[in-house]
Symmetry: C2
Subunit: 225 residues, 2 copies
DNA sequence: GTCTATAGTCGGATAGAC
DNA sequence: GTCTATCCGACTATAGAC
């Protein structure tokens, strides 16, 4: 076997640049920008520290590249559903049900990688950290992921409930997203409060059910208004 | 006026130790533990850097003191409601309405300081940061604030919906809290998505309405199951 | 209790050989 | 393109005068 042959999913990047990027996602995800050291990243990537300024113009450039990398991954998880939503117009009354189906579909996708996936912790930490302390990389996350998702949920909420104000629809969309994100950023709290070791498939499933039930409840009651 | 006279709300701590603590809450809240420097804290407090190891045994000790300080403040905001909840037993059917009233009361308290209060950003950042990167100070936040609040909401959810599983009740409580917290940790996203300058009283009020409406909807639908 | 001076450490970036 | 060696800056903490 020729180790140089490019595989579809190499265990680790073949070239220095890619290895650095992968290590960066990991280390920045675990420690955050300031606490992460270029030394640790280089060590984990198995390359020389000097390669960081060489390929990425320094620590900050590497960080931005890492953020871009994970956002692309995350975005790809919801891209198909977002496309479906854009195609529909939700004009007639029958489309209310279609909108609700799409809403559940989108929420499930987000739950799957925010709560259920094994890479979720490091990916989510970078995203959440940028919420708390926005850097120049915030734009990438907002433009490529947060805003499209928020807008799509708002569109669906409007179609489902008939909410007349676009402003209120966005607030509702944000609250719905919060129900999901809280299980990621508050994972430690959840684990301690319930005496878990972590989120297993069972917990992810329970979380999924609770979120979908409560969202359905909220939407239905609003519709009756 | 004697400056030494202890006032109920001094503009800034009279002694070195208190001034340091206040500055620490501010600087740690803005930058996080690693990025915050003892130099900046000492400068903001108007004291000598050497006072930090002297009074707090170093940067980490000061951080823990700051966390303890803010948790006590936050806890005091909800203490009265938590006490009310503990006193009730929620056994008869009539208590369902009482539970719902208390739930709304508690949520409003949390919204008020998590979204509406001017100190919210720095206080919340410290709390949220400990969720992402728990340190030894996490215990304080969990024991004094998160767990009591989570438990109380779970008790109320149980009383309102008749949810039989305590486990599920906690998950529901977490989701409800998420609706609130998302407006704090995702503030930057909210601001950009809606083209705001920040949360004014008007936005806080809208957020309050949306959260209470959606929570009410979720609870009512669950009751009918 | 508060200060100055400084020790001791570590991080990121660069220069230049190979 | 990758390495070693090194610089420079910034940080926390300590020693010791006052």
């Amino acid at each position: 076997m020729d180790q140089k042959t490019p595989l579809s999913k190499p265990k680790t990047g073949s070239n220095t640049q890619d290895r650095l990027l992968e290590a960066a996602v990991d280390v920045f995800g675990r420690h955050g920008f300031e606490a992460a050291t270029t030394r640790a990243i280089a060590r984990e990537a198995g390359v020389n520290i000097a390669a960081i300024p060489y390929y990425y113009n320094g620590k900050e450039g590497l960080y931005r590249a890492a953020v871009g990398f994970i956002v692309k991954k995350v975005q790809s998880q919801v891209a198909a559903v977002l496309e479906e939503i854009k195609e529909q117009s939700f004009r007639d009354a029958a489309s209310r049900d279609a909108a609700f189906v799409l809403l559940e579909k989108l929420l499930e996708k987000i739950i799957n990688f925010m709560v259920g996936s094994p890479q979720a912790p490091r990916v989510a930490r970078i995203i959440l950290r940028e919420q708390l302390y926005p850097s120049s990389a915030y734009e990438i996350i907002f433009n490529e992921f947060l805003e499209p998702v928020l807008d799509s949920i708002a569109v669906l909420v409007t179609a489902v409930t008939g909410e007349p104000s676009p402003r209120t629809a966005k607030l509702r969309a944000m609250a719905v997203m919060g129900q999901i994100f809280v299980f990621r950023f508050g994972r430690e709290t959840m684990v301690r409060a319930m005496g878990l070791e972590g989120y297993s498939a069972k917990e992810t499933e329970e979380i999924r059910r609770v979120i979908l039930e409560q969202t359905r409840g909220a939407m239905e009651t609003l519709t009756q208004l």
